[in-house]
Structure formats: C-alpha cells, structure tokens
C-alpha cells in the first residue's frame, strides 16, 4: 500500500503547492486592479482617513485637513468656501474627488511614488504619514477681485500670466461650497450632492474650463490673425457694406459704413466686414488659425477641461457665421484668455497651468512646473500688429470701459447672440503690458438687449478690475 500512499502524499503536496502558487499569482496579477477598483471601500476609506496635504494660494490654504474626532480622524476643510471650489474641487466620502483633489490625489494623500522615500522614513521613525501640499499659481487678490466684479452673475473669469501661462485667477459662478460635500455627516453630504446636481445653474461645472460657449465677436481676433497671416495689413481696407451670406437670405446689415480699415473694423466689431473677410479667407484658414491658438486640444491637465472647437464640416454661409464667433464655433473662457495671452506674448501660446509646485510635508519640492510653449499662433510681427489693433479697441472702440490709467490694455469685446431665445453671452478678452497678463471675462446672463455692446458694458469693467488687482 505504500506506493499509493506515497502518490497520495504527492498529490496532497501538489494541492498545497497549487494553493501557494495561486495565492502568489493572484497577488501579482490581480492586486493592482482590485486596489484601483472604484468600489473598493478599503482604498477609498484609507484615502479619506489620511492626513491629506493642503492646497495653497500664496501662503494661505484653500483646502486643508484638520483633525476630527469621528471615525475618519481627519476632516477636509475649504476655508474660502465657494471662491476656489472650481479649482480645488471636492474631496468626499460618497462621491470621490474632483479637480485638483482628484488629479493630485496621490500626492495629497502621500501615496504617490515620488513620496516613496518619505513613506519609508515615516515608517522607520513611526511618524504619521502626511501628504504633500500643492502650491497653485493663483493670486488671491486677483481671484477675490474677479469674484467680486462678477458678483452674482453667471459666468467665468480667467486671468493668465501672458508670459508663462500660469493661471492667476479662475472664477466660475455660480459655484458651490465643497465643505457641504466633504462633511462626514453622510446624509448631509448626500443631500447637498442631490441639491447641487439638480440645480439647473450647474454650480459644480467649472464654466472657465469645462463648458464651451460661442465666443461671439472675440473670435474676430482669431479671424484678424488669420487675415494678417494671409497678407492683410491693419490698414487694408475692407468692404464693410451689408453682406448677404452666399446662398442664404441671412444678411448682415452694415453698422459701419461701406468701407473701413481692418483696424477700425475690429475696433467697431463690424460683423458684415468680418463675415465677408472670413468667407474670403476660407474655413480651412480659419480653422488652422484657431487650432494654432489652441482650439481642439484640452489645454489644462491639472483640472478637468474640454477642448474648444471650430467645426470640421462647414459650408460658406456657415463660415461667414463662424467668422463672427457664431455657428458651431465654441470656446472655453480659458481658451479665449489664451488667445489674448498669445497676442501679448508675441504670438506664442503658452501651456496654461494651475500648479506651481508640489511639496512634501517637510517642504521638499517634489515637482515644479516649468512654463512650456504649446503652439505658435502668429508671427511676432503680426502679433505686434494685432496688439496695436486691440489697443485701439480699448482706446477708441467698444472696449473703452477696460481702460486702466497708466497701463496699456488691448482687448476685444464679444456678444454672442446667435439665437433670440436666451439672453446674450457677454465676452471680453484683454491683455495688459504691466502687469503682463491676459484676461477673459465671460458673462452668461448679460441681462440686456442682444446688442454688440453687451461685452463692452458688462464684461470689460470686470476685466479692468482684475487687471487693477494684479498691478
């Protein structure tokens, strides 16, 4: 009987071996995906119970972690409530995290691979692990000024450092209070979530980066850039008489005489002139120019953002509409700020960024963002011509309300009134030479007649306030 018993022993050993090998294989093959599973409460709870690093504006925390006496030990707090919510996002138990809280989640929680050494040291010394802090590029003064100037109006304000692409201010209104979601009272959190998601004003959607709107006449800057690239000069004379879109009954009645220079046409935001000019340049030239400014790409990786678009399928009359920022042309306020910044920055489009650096709990710099070039929009000389033209918009055109004493400001107003149902969108894009910034103001409810002056009347003063705050 011993032969069979030996074989049985062999089989038993194989069974043990199978268990051991299976366990190892399971560990190697499945662990990562299991730990990354969104419904894995062990992982989400652990992240929630961690001493998460702060998100900083200057020397002030806009998201911080304070000790809490309940089961999670730590509570996430947003001292400025609504003001920075579009940038920090929320960090919740039930709904995960968003924006910087999400994209920099592993650094904030201290689990990023760059913090491996810190974790080892914490393990060795017995110190409680602490997450890294994220330093944003925002400027508190500008952010407050933008929010104040925008007030209760639905809209967004973006200010960029024209030379580097650093985001100096980013306001979206209406906003939400992330504290309501981050509370450990999960019933309250759920209630706040329900209210926010049902709100038709979409308070949790960052209008500056996550939604695209027809840019209206601010898009004429792009058309003007395309014209300059095609050989036009600021003083080239354009036919500004009434223009009927080819093959349609749609006519742009002239508001600016029968002929004007490109410079004046931009300053007065002459629709008939730009529609005709756009059709003449062709949709491809316009699209190419728009893409050179950054259309078609998601410009910001730090928080959720969408690409602005210039339609692919477009015929002549539609091109005419697109030339004045209508039809299916749509852009984020961030994208339009980038257009202004590129004009100021000799035609170079800089990659916008929100995070200056990430520092470990012992203030060691883990990563530092270096400004980088995204695109080249126009030649340096054409950028200079565009600057002159945009200055004229402010000194002697629709954007006069953005004048700041002692500062050269160039701008362009815009009012999107492509349909008559909704109240017009008011836009204003601007740049200044001192400080070297670009601003885009977008007001969703201009609450006035759909006239082209809405951008100048509603949006330009907000841009002025931001520029002044940044001085």
């Amino acid at each position: 009987m011993n032969g069979p018993i030996r074989r049985v022993a062999f089989v038993s050993m194989l069974m043990t071996l199978a268990l051991l090998v299976n366990l190892c294989v399971g560990y190697l093959m499945r662990s990562d995906s299991l730990n990354a599973h969104p419904q894995n409460r062990r992982v989400t709870d652990a992240a929630f119970a961690q001493d998460r690093g702060a998100i900083m504006v200057g020397n002030t925390a806009i998201a911080e972690t304070v000790p809490s006496k309940d089961q999670f030990k730590f509570q996430r707090r947003y001292p400025q409530n609504e003001l920075y919510a579009p940038i920090t996002g929320y960090f919740t138990y039930l709904f995960g995290a968003s924006e910087l809280e999400q994209t920099y989640g592993s650094q904030l929680s201290g689990s990023d691979s760059s913090q491996f050494v810190n974790r080892l040291i914490d393990l060795a010394t017995g110190a409680k692990p602490k997450g890294a802090s994220v330093q944003t590029t925002l400027v508190a003064k500008a952010q407050r000024a933008a929010a104040q100037a925008l007030g209760d109006k639905k809209g967004a304000v973006v200010a960029l450092n024209a030379k580097t692409g650093a985001v100096l201010a980013m306001v979206s209104s209406p906003s939400f209070d992330p504290n309501d979601l981050a509370t450990h009272d999960l019933a309250d959190s759920q209630k706040a979530w329900n209210a926010l998601t049902k709100d038709s004003a979409k308070p949790m959607s960052n209008r500056a980066t996550r939604e695209i709107f027809p840019p209206g006449s601010t898009f004429k800057v792009v058309v003007a850039a395309a014209a300059l690239e095609a050989g036009y000069e600021p003083d080239s004379v354009l036919d500004t008489s009434s223009y009927r879109l080819p093959g349609t009954n749609v006519t742009f009645n002239t508001t600016c005489g029968n002929s004007q220079t490109l410079r004046r046409a931009l300053a007065t935001s002459c629709n008939s002139a730009f529609a005709r000019l756009g059709v003449k340049l062709g949709a491809d030239a316009l699209r190419e120019q728009a893409e050179k400014f950054g259309f078609g790409t998601r410009p910001l990786s730090d928080i959720a953002s969408v690409a602005s678009r210039f339609p692919d399928e477009i015929d002549e009359p539609q091109t005419g509409l697109a030339s004045i920022g209508g039809f299916e042309v749509a852009a984020t306020p961030l994208q339009m700020a980038m257009v202004a910044a590129a004009v100021r920055n000799d035609g170079v489009v800089m990659q916008p960024y929100l995070v200056e650096s990430v520092r470990s709990a012992d203030l060691q710099v883990l990563s530092q963002t270096r400004p980088s070039q995204l695109r080249l929009a126009t030649s340096s000389s054409n950028a200079a011509k565009l600057r002159q033209m945009m200055v004229e918009v402010v000194t002697g055109g629709t954007g006069w309300r953005a004048q700041v004493p002692g500062v050269t400001v160039g701008g362009k107003t815009g009012t999107a009134n492509s349909d008559n149902v909704r109240t017009p969108y008011a836009w204003f894009i601007a740049w200044a030479d001192d400080p070297d910034v670009a601003v885009c103001v977008f007001v969703q409810d201009a609450e006035m007649e759909a006239t082209d002056v809405a951008g100048g009347r509603v949006a330009a003063p907000i841009a002025k306030a931001v520029i002044e705050a940044l001085r």
Partner: protein, 547 residues
C-alpha cells in the same frame, strides 16, 4: 524486511513546539488588542491563561495516554486554533457594538480539547472501530445527508450543508468525514483483494471487474446528490475524493482514481449543465465582478487580500469586517488581509505539514486498517483545506466548508479535534516500539525463517542489517530497548513495528526492502492477528517475498 526503527517519544519536542505555538498565538492576540484599542483589555491574562492551560493540559494527556504520538500534530493544530482565536477576537473588535464570539470560541476550544482527551482515554486501540463497516457506513451516509431533512436541515448562503437544532447549527459533513473514513477503512480492509482483481484491460490500464463497481457507484451517486441537493461542490468533492483515494490505496490499482476522476468530472459537468445554482457558483468563481451584489462576499474577500498585499496590514490594522461572514467561510481572507500573502502561505504550509505527518503515519503503519485510516483522515483533511482555501483564493469555485481549527464554530472544532485524537492514537500505535515477548531479539536474527532470506532491494538507501549491534536507545532508553516482558501494553506481543521514519535506532533484524511489512515470523499478539501472518499481508503483489 528492513531494520526495525524504534521511534523516540519526542514529547519534549512537542512541549517546546507547543510553547512556541502558544507564544505566536498569544502574540497575535496581544497585537490585535494593542493595534485596535491601544491597550490590553481588562483581564486579558485570563484569555491567554486559559488558552495556555488548555494546551498544557492536552499535552499532559498526550504524554500520559499516547506518549509515542506524532510530536508535531498537536502544536501545529493548536497554533492554527490560536490564530483563529486571535482573528475572531479581532473581528469581534471590528464590529459595533463589540461582539464576544472569541470568548465563546475559547470555551468551545476547551470543550473540543476535552473531546480530544476523551478520544485518547476511550480509544485505546483504534481497531475496535473496524468491527462494523456497514453500520458505520450507513451511519456516515445518514449524517452526511442530514441537511436534506426537513425541519433541521437548512440552507445558508446557497449551500444546504447545515443542520440546526435549537440555537446550535452544525455542518454534519465535519462528523461524516470521520465516520465515513472509518467505514471505508474497515470495509476496504475486508474487500480490497476482491476489488483489486483486474477486469478488462483498456489503454494499458486494468479496469476493475464490472461487478465490483457497486461501491464506487454508490459513492458517486451520493456525491452527486450532495452536489445537486446540498449545492456544495466542496463537500461533494470531499467525500468522493476520500473514497476513491482510499480505494486506490487499498487496491493499488491506478484504474480506480482514473475512473473516479472521470466520474466526478463528468458528474460535475452534468451538474453545471443542468443546474443553475452550479452555474452561479462557477460564474462567481470565474468572474465575480459580473454580479456585484450576488458575489459581494467573494469580491470583498478579494479586496481584502489585495489590500493586505505581500505582508499584510498587520494584526488589527486591516478592514476584514467589510467581508461578510469573515469569521466563518472567509476567515482565510481576513488572515490574508492582515498577515498578507506571506502569512496566508505560512498557514497553508502548516496545513500541508499536518497532512504530511498523517500520511507519514500511514506509511509507517504495518497493517492495513491503520494505514487506510491514517491516510484517509489525512487526505480528507487536506482536501477540505484545499477546497475552502482554494475557494477563498479563487483557485476553485467557492464552497461552504469551514476552515479547520481556525474558523468560528464549536461543532467544527469538536469534530476536527476528535479527528485529531483519532489520528494521534493511530500515530501512537504505529510509532510505539512493540516489545517482543519471550525470546531475546538476538535470537531472532538467527531464526531459521530468516535464512530463507528476503531479497534486498539494491535501491534501498538504508543501512544493511547489522546483526551484531545491540539496540541503541534513544532519548528515552527504557522505551527503546525491547524488553521481553512486554512492559508497555498487554497487546505488545507483535513483532517490532518497523517504519521508514527516523531511523535512529536499528534493532538487529533481517534486512529487506523498505516496505515495513510484518515479515518476521514471531508469535502474534492477541489483538492484532493480521500482523502475525508471515506473508506480508499489506503487500499483495504477485511474487510475495516469503515462501
């Protein structure tokens, strides 16, 4: 006949191992409390003290009643028991309000060890169990099928393998595995020659004669009934696997396990084709995430083990309470979470060592009943561990069996300790040096029967016969020298039971192959008549070695 090996008692080794095991378990218990509460609970020493006391008491009984029992089995089992207690305590502390099932489990441990001791006291010689094979079989099958009865049987988490009497629930399979192992062993001792007869030869394998297929058919149908009506693959596999394995050991015919594997796979496949609950089990095994709610338990178990990683979160620092039924079916997942892959592997290896010690006893035993019983008990234990740990780690479809000695539950503990008692009685009987009667051993070597000589196997690695050496005593000299008076037990008149284990002490005996057959023609003891037949009964191969 090889040289006779005299085993040492090794009770000192057992004590040291036991103390180490209890130290590990106590450390686990203390770590659990320190890591969760930051301090030891009031009266913590009571728990530790009672646990230690039970262990020492069991050791004392072993020392007294079965001094030659295998020294590793009890410490290993008691370590698993202690780890289980610590983990149950940990899971108690993870609930709100705190539960007290660890105290209850400690009480059950005391009762189970008492049952273990009772087995050692009552069962002096396991051969008494051999008497009524058919009645034992009937009893075993009845116990196994008890969950199918109305009223007392009930279904829990998709498997009807439980009975409930009053507030107590019980898995009859735990008891049935012991009873049926005894039944198979006694039955096969009687019938093995018949069952070994060859029938038709197919593909180089001698098939059994069709008329001998009765027993295996009955067991096959029983296992299918378990699979289909009790809805548990593990239990089904357990009993069919046990029977086929014992049939193979008894008859030495490879055709039996081949036939058995084919029958079982075929049956399981048919069950999968026909019954939706079998398909549910299989899909939960292959792709648990397809049905989140239905497979919540196995998914949480997976999350837990992934969260634990290689070395675990540490005692008390994981979240095993997120897994439903973590104290029973999924205690292995809880251990995997807090002790990591490394810790769970260590536990698997402990189980493996227990199985190997049991099978080693089967190898050492000299007569078929002990061989079959030891091999059967060890193998069925190994199969159970394989089924449940394999289920939790997704090697196999999940089964509702308990994790022996670790998971919560008094009945399971009692049954497994009773099984351990039985196995240790066998190891004691097998390893015990049997003092020969009357004649001094020296004369045995010159016995005329030995001159006829058993052919030596060239491959035998053991030292050849040494007729001149006197027996060397081991650490307990009194036990190792076979005294003519038969000091230990009245049944000790059999020839020295040899074995391949620990060849420290060679008593001069005729040489031979390594099969420890009882080929010494000396007068037999009254209790074990089989051992006295000079024609090596457990080696029925053609051309037996003795005339």
């Amino acid at each position: 006949m090889g040289e006779v090996v005299v085993f040492r008692k090794r009770r000192g080794v057992e004590l040291v191992m036991l103390i180490m095991a209890m130290g590990l378990a106590t450390g686990a218990y203390l770590l659990v409390n320190l890591n969760i509460g930051g301090e030891l609970p009031d009266g913590w020493y009571w728990g530790v003290g009672i646990y230690a006391l039970i262990g020492i008491a069991a050791h004392a009984v072993i020392r007294w009643r079965i001094p030659y029992a295998d020294p590793l089995l009890f410490p290993l089992v008691y370590l698993l028991n202690g780890i289980g207690l610590a983990m149950i305590q940990r899971l108690d502390l993870g609930t709100n309000p705190v539960m007290h099932s660890a105290e209850l489990q400690l009480t059950w441990t005391a009762i189970a060890v008492a049952v273990f001791a009772a087995v050692l006291f009552l069962l002096k010689d396991h051969h008494v169990l051999q008497r009524f094979p058919y009645l034992t079989f009937l009893a075993g099958m009845l116990i196994l099928m008890m969950p199918l009865l109305p009223v007392i049987g009930f279904e829990n988490h998709g498997a009807r393998i439980w009975i409930k009497i009053g507030p107590y629930s019980f898995q009859p399979a735990e008891l049935a595995k012991i009873v049926l192992t005894i039944a198979f062993a006694s039955y096969l001792v009687e019938k093995r020659e018949v069952l070994a007869l060859a029938g038709a030869r197919v593909l180089g394998i001698d098939l059994p004669r069709p008329r001998d297929l009765g027993p295996i058919s009955i067991m096959w149908l029983a296992s299918l009934a378990v699979l289909i009506y009790q809805k548990d693959l593990g239990t089904s596999l357990l009993f069919f696997g046990l029977f086929v394995m014992m049939l193979y050991v008894a008859t030495e015919r490879p055709s039996w396990p081949i036939l058995g594997t084919l029958l079982f796979s075929g049956g399981a496949f048919l069950g999968w084709l026909t019954y939706s609950h079998v398909q549910t089990r299989v899909s939960a095994w292959l792709d648990p995430f397809a049905h989140w709610d239905q497979n919540y338990q196995i998914i949480q178990g997976q999350f837990g083990m992934a969260w634990g990683g290689l070395f675990g979160t540490g005692w008390g620092l994981g979240r095993p309470n997120l897994t439903p039924l973590a104290k029973n079916d999924f205690i292995a997942a809880a251990l995997g979470e807090e002790l990591g892959v490394a810790g769970l592997m260590a536990i698997m290896v402990i189980y493996g060592v227990i199985v190997m010690r049991g099978l080693r006893t089967a190898l050492t035993a000299t007569e078929p009943f002990s061989k079959l019983l030891a091999a059967g008990l060890s193998f069925v234990f190994g199969l159970q561990v394989f089924a449940i740990l394999g289920g939790v780690t997704r090697l196999l479809p999940l089964t509702g069996l308990t994790t022996p000695f670790i998971s919560q539950g008094g009945s399971s503990l009692i049954a497994n300790y009773a099984m351990l008692g039985l196995l240790m009685v066998v190891t004691h009987r097998v390893r015990r040096p049997a003092p020969t009667a009357e004649e001094p051993l020296q004369s045995l070597a010159h016995d005329t029967t030995q001159v006829i000589a058993v052919p030596s196997r060239p491959a035998d690695p053991r030292p050849g016969p040494d007729f001149d050496r006197t027996p060397i005593s081991a650490d307990e000299p009194t036990a190792a020298v076979p005294t003519p008076s038969g000091a230990n037990e009245p049944t000790a008149a059999i020839p020295t039971p040899p074995g391949p284990d620990e060849p420290t002490t060679a008593i001069p005996a005729p040489s031979g192959p390594d099969e420890p057959t009882s080929a010494i023609p000396t007068p037999s003891g009254p209790d074990e008549p089989t051992a006295a037949i000079p024609t090596g009964i457990d080696d029925p191969r053609p051309g037996g070695r003795l005339p």
